[in-house]
Amino acid sequence: MEEAVEQKVLRTPTELVAIVEALIFVADEPVSTRVLGEVLEEERESIQAAIEQLQSEYEGRDSGLQIREIAGGWQLGTRTEYHEEVRKFLKTRPNAKLSLASLETLSVIAYKQPVTVPEILEIRGVQSASAIKTLLDRRLIVAKGRKEAVGRPMQYGTSKDFLVQFGLKDLTELPSIEDFEDLVQ
């Protein structure tokens, strides 16, 4: 144990902020506080403080970038207000938007997961096969095992890509479905 303590790297808070920034930058997907803590052998609290510091630095200097919490981790991304320039530079067009049918199907899957095709049909009142295919192709949903019911139908749930593409930290960040009741008259 003592040896471990001796080996522990001593870093100033400023250094830790810099290192956390470097790691979030090199990661190709959101990095969790836990992973950062493990790799750097630092307390969760120190990592959390470093990230907060980093976020306020990016805010404070009107950076073109931002540190966001998404899909259970931290990620560096461009600021929304510069999307036109970025798009022009990357020569990309916005993703083909999901059709109304696909969006509805996705919302049923997001709120009712794990859910089967017949269950989706019951809520939407319409066959959703092609919408489900689209959502699978776009990796927004995944198969989540079979339901223990007649015919053992396949169940579906949302993927990590779903969280990323819809800017959610996790599924609990979705507003409750009952909240939409107020809108219904």
Partner: protein
């Protein structure tokens, strides 16, 4: 009626809020709607109820049914395939309508004051459906914001299999592709000329002496058919027997190497 769409048309992009607003502001005297844009019969029904400014808890079923059937007829007239689900809903509406026309059974009305409203189940479904429709709007808004943020490199992993970054759906899709490809390959196979044992020995020998060693597994994998594989196998036995070549295996089940002595 400029755009006619089906559910399958995923390339179509639209502004969720704007489109809804456009449909809503359409005149009541004219079906100024973009046909086929309804996500399903419940969606259409909600639209008609709104358009008639009716109370969802007290649906004027005769009028709404009439409007609904009018819409279906219009679709048919325009040669738009009417999905079976729309027809099922039409039947449901007609059934409810006829139930409501039925006089109450006088013997029942005395003890059962509150008879079940034939519309109740439909109202429940509409209310449930509308929640998800609103949630779809929220998702649309979120994805619009997110699509304006760019990161380094795309994220393609999934929670279930963060380590391998593929889903069971990918497995199946890939497998289907291979099977399809295999059918083509088999056709080509027939035309391929098979290599003789003498040529096989010559080739293998040349390779061993050029590179010093040959991984047996890799060598076998290059074979295109069962017969070629057998030929290759005999060639290996032949070379080990006749030439200054050794078979090496570093660990049990490890790769077998053919090495020049």
């Amino acid at each position: 009626m400029e755009t006619i769409l089906t559910e399958k048309d995923e390339q179509f992009s639209f502004d969720f809020h704007k489109e809804t607003a456009e449909i809503m502001s359409g005149g009541t005297d004219e079906l100024k709607i973009k046909l086929g844009e309804f996500a399903g019969p419940l969606d259409l029904l909600l639209y008609l109820i709104r358009q008639e400014q009716a109370d969802i808890f007290d649906i004027p079923i005769a009028r709404i049914t009439e409007k609904y059937l009018e819409y279906i007829r219009l679709m048919k007239r325009l040669d738009i395939a009417v999905a079976a689900d729309f027809l099922v809903m039409a039947a449901t509406l007609i059934e409810i309508k006829s139930k409501m026309l039925l006089p109450r059974d006088p013997s029942l009305s005395t003890d059962e004051e509150e008879m079940e409203d034939p519309r109740q189940e439909l109202v429940d479904r509409l209310l449930e459906y509308e929640k998800f429709k609103s949630a779809a709007g929220m998702l649309h808004e979120r994805s619009t914001i997110e699509s304006a943020i760019f990161t380094r490199g795309p994220i393609e992993s999934d929670e279930n299999n963060a380590e391998i970054d593929a889903s069971v759906f990918d497995l199946l899709t890939v497998f289907q592709k291979i099977v399809a490809r295999h059918v083509d390959e088999v056709k080509m196979e027939i035309q391929r000329e098979e290599i003789s044992l003498a040529d096989m020995i010559k080739n293998l020998k040349a390779r061993i002496f050029a590179t010093g060693e040959v991984n047996l597994l890799e060598f076998f994998e290059e074979m295109h058919s069962r017969r070629e594989l057998v030929t290759a196998f005999i060639a290996v036995l032949e070379i080990v027997r006749a030439e200054t070549v050794k078979l090496l295996q570093n660990k049990t089940f490890g790769d077998i190497i053919l090495r020049k002595v």
